[in-house]
Symmetry: C3
Subunit: 318 residues, 3 copies
């Protein structure tokens, strides 16, 4: 069932997406069915930024395949990595990505890495610079645990969750709606969700205040609708997410509470299921009534993170 | 031998206590005798506060049962959890306990959690609010790794240690003596020690300076004696512990060095064994001469933490 | 092949050194050949200071022997240990090394510990005080993961790497050359490299600016040459390393960029291989051209850390 996969960093094709979803659902039904597949293989999970769900779900996925995951939290203070080529390292960085990635590549069979954007240097972020340096120098298969611009394991889990809740809908109406937040949040989850939803052939509408346009590289093919109420009409799935401005890079342009999704917002979408990648700021991004009600798929999405990761690792093991 | 247990958060009954002690001693004699019992089962150990003994002993206990423990250190800065119902999360907390506990419940078969008291909000602490929220929302068996008001794994290890050192004493005289400290310390260890010692049918005397009365919920049935010297007479086991004031909540009312236990204090208790849960502040709570002498059971208590945890996990596995 | 070893803290003899190298190379050829040797045995890896290579390579080595490694990061803020005998613990330290080491000794079969020097108290550092206290009170075999004055696992990996690259050279010329750095760096790697290189019978030249003499305890038998250019002539292996002053203890006396090794420095050593323990400050200690060129053995050294640790643990298991 599993064809070989080198890296897992972004949406590749509907065919591969479908295979990964199918394989994930089979692992969900029987998590330990391939318990010997990864015997003696090592996966190193490197976090340049903190993580809860991603870390634990990836560890569990690896253990379900009989692998020995090792987690490394290398946050910016503890082990600051130099990313720039040719840097004279007489400042705060203690090791160059070339050397660190090379060593980790010699220690593990698969590497998984989280590298958030700067949200200040747009050029660097768009090019997914830190993540790319890691891929370039590690010499081993790399799984993205969220890069500057994508979070493909989250998106795969999201598509698994949509698949599980499709019933008989042929082409579901999926709405990605911006939500207020008090901090400047990366674009990765929103970008990837658009990329995967469009790639899997669903109907995608994106709604947000003006000035919050995402990078068109990810949203081409989606309807952009600034009227949230119109966008939500007859939605089958509503994905709630904050992101900071892309054009006015990394800025917070609005915290308008009218954009927080509540039951009232869904009066014209009676069957809509609501999704969020977590962590969610309750009563700021999303109301308690929705999160605690029957529309919510957020716990399901989180649980599916295990099987998304397991499916990806299994494909890379080949 | 093991009857099923749902949560492990407090003393339940002398019958269950005896079973847990008996099972712990059998694991101490042969730690890996049930090495296949937990195959494929996961335990997540969540620390909202730092830990050394509790963390390692629980990991080892789980490994002795063939389980794969995963440790999560979620201290207040790294991943601040919101505990209040209905909170509008527009401040420092990044995730609600409802959501985090639900996700962790879907990732693990058993959860173990440490949640210290605030020592400022007495009402919240008495109700064991944070810990209770976790139990409420996780949907899985929960083991307390020390809550705001109890530390039952420590107390079980303490009772195992008393049992091992009882010789032929039918009803040992156990003394819990307050000791000086420079920081405001929670009541959990003292509360639980009283609860378990009384519950197991031992004779308990508690001695402390005036103003240091513990919550009567835990001490009913114990003798309270403000004269430390009289309290210690003919003691079989002396448990040394600091705690902050309960009535003048979380305050330090005394650091009187006369309360530090030394050999001189035990001149009328020649056979007394001395206990402490560790970490201990040497020559502040307890003198070197006692800790390094033959009365001390502190290393034994720490070692018994492994088998206390193993016994509890084994009972929960059923 | 493996004779029993109690502690691994320093160079013992050429005979043992040769055995450890031979065993390491056999593990490199077949890492999991002794996968059952450590079943049910535990190794605790305690870091009083941060680590990347040492931590991961030791975990992998233990896993290759079927052991369950547990890592404890006890940095100075999180769990400050008191090291002094007889201390009255009414300040910042929360637990005495006596108690902590004793507990860890009861939890693990083998302990591995990292304890850096103060670089301010020379007397304490020379006596390897913190590390020694740990060995004294743990009651179990102890592996040094770098102490105040030695880093023997690094040195073993270095000797393995030299052995792999010896070709037909009988007595290689090995040069240890000081390099500039912006921080005050411990002497442990330089000391141990000298100790092992001399112990294994190689020809060692040490070159550094005046004032950077290492402790003669480690360098007796080496040539000391202040003219770097002369020292490097016809070198077979050049080990680049910064260290702070030993005589003017812990001070930085020079950051002279002329001491940074470049290709130009090696014009009279055409076949020289270049070594560094990593992390390396690129273009401060060593130039990119060398690190990225064919002379560099640094990635090989890092990889050999796994097999150095595996060889040592295997010898201790006996």
């Amino acid at each position: 069932m599993n064809s070989a996969l080198r890296h897992f960093t972004k949406f590749e094709s509907k065919e591969l997406g479908s295979k990964l979803i199918e394989s994930a659902l089979s692992y969900k039904a029987d998590p330990r069915k391939d318990i010997s597949k990864g015997t003696g293989k090592r996966i190193g999970c490197i976090f340049l930024n903190p993580s809860l769900r991603t870390r634990v779900s990836t560890q569990l996925a690896a253990q379900n395949l009989g692998m020995e995951p090792i987690v490394l939290n290398m946050d910016k203070e503890g082990w600051a990595l130099e990313m720039k080529e040719g840097a004279i390292m007489n400042k705060g960085t203690v090791e160059h990505i070339k050397d660190a990635a090379g060593v980790l590549g010699s220690y593990f069979d698969i590497l998984a890495i989280r590298a958030f954007p700067t949200l200040t240097n747009r050029e660097e972020d768009i090019n997914d610079f830190a993540f790319g340096q890691f891929v370039k120098y590690s010499g081993k298969p790399v799984i993205s645990l969220e890069s500057a611009i994508r979070h493909p394991l989250q998106s795969l889990a999201d598509q698994i969750t949509i698949q599980e809740n499709l019933k008989n809908i042929k082409k579901p109406k999926v709405v990605l709606t911006w939500a207020p937040h008090i901090k400047a949040i990366p674009h990765a989850v929103a970008n990837s969700f658009a990329e995967w939803t469009l790639g899997m052939g669903h109907d995608l509408t994106i709604t947000h205040p003006e000035g919050y346009e995402l990078d068109p590289m990810f949203t081409q093919g989606a309807k952009i609708e600034h009227d949230q109420s119109r966008a939500l009409e007859d939605a089958d799935f509503v994905y709630v997410k904050n992101w900071s401005s892309f054009n006015d890079y990394g800025k917070i342009l609005s915290t308008d509470p009218k954009w927080m999704l509540t039951e009232k917002h869904l009066r014209n979408a009676p069957d809509a299921k609501v999704m969020h990648c977590l962590p969610v700021r309750r009563n700021l991004e999303l109301s308690d009534e929705i999160l605690d009600g029957s529309r919510s798929l957020v716990q399901r999405q989180a649980e599916n993170r295990i099987y998304a990761a397991q499916s990806v690792i299994s494909h890379i093991l080949g």
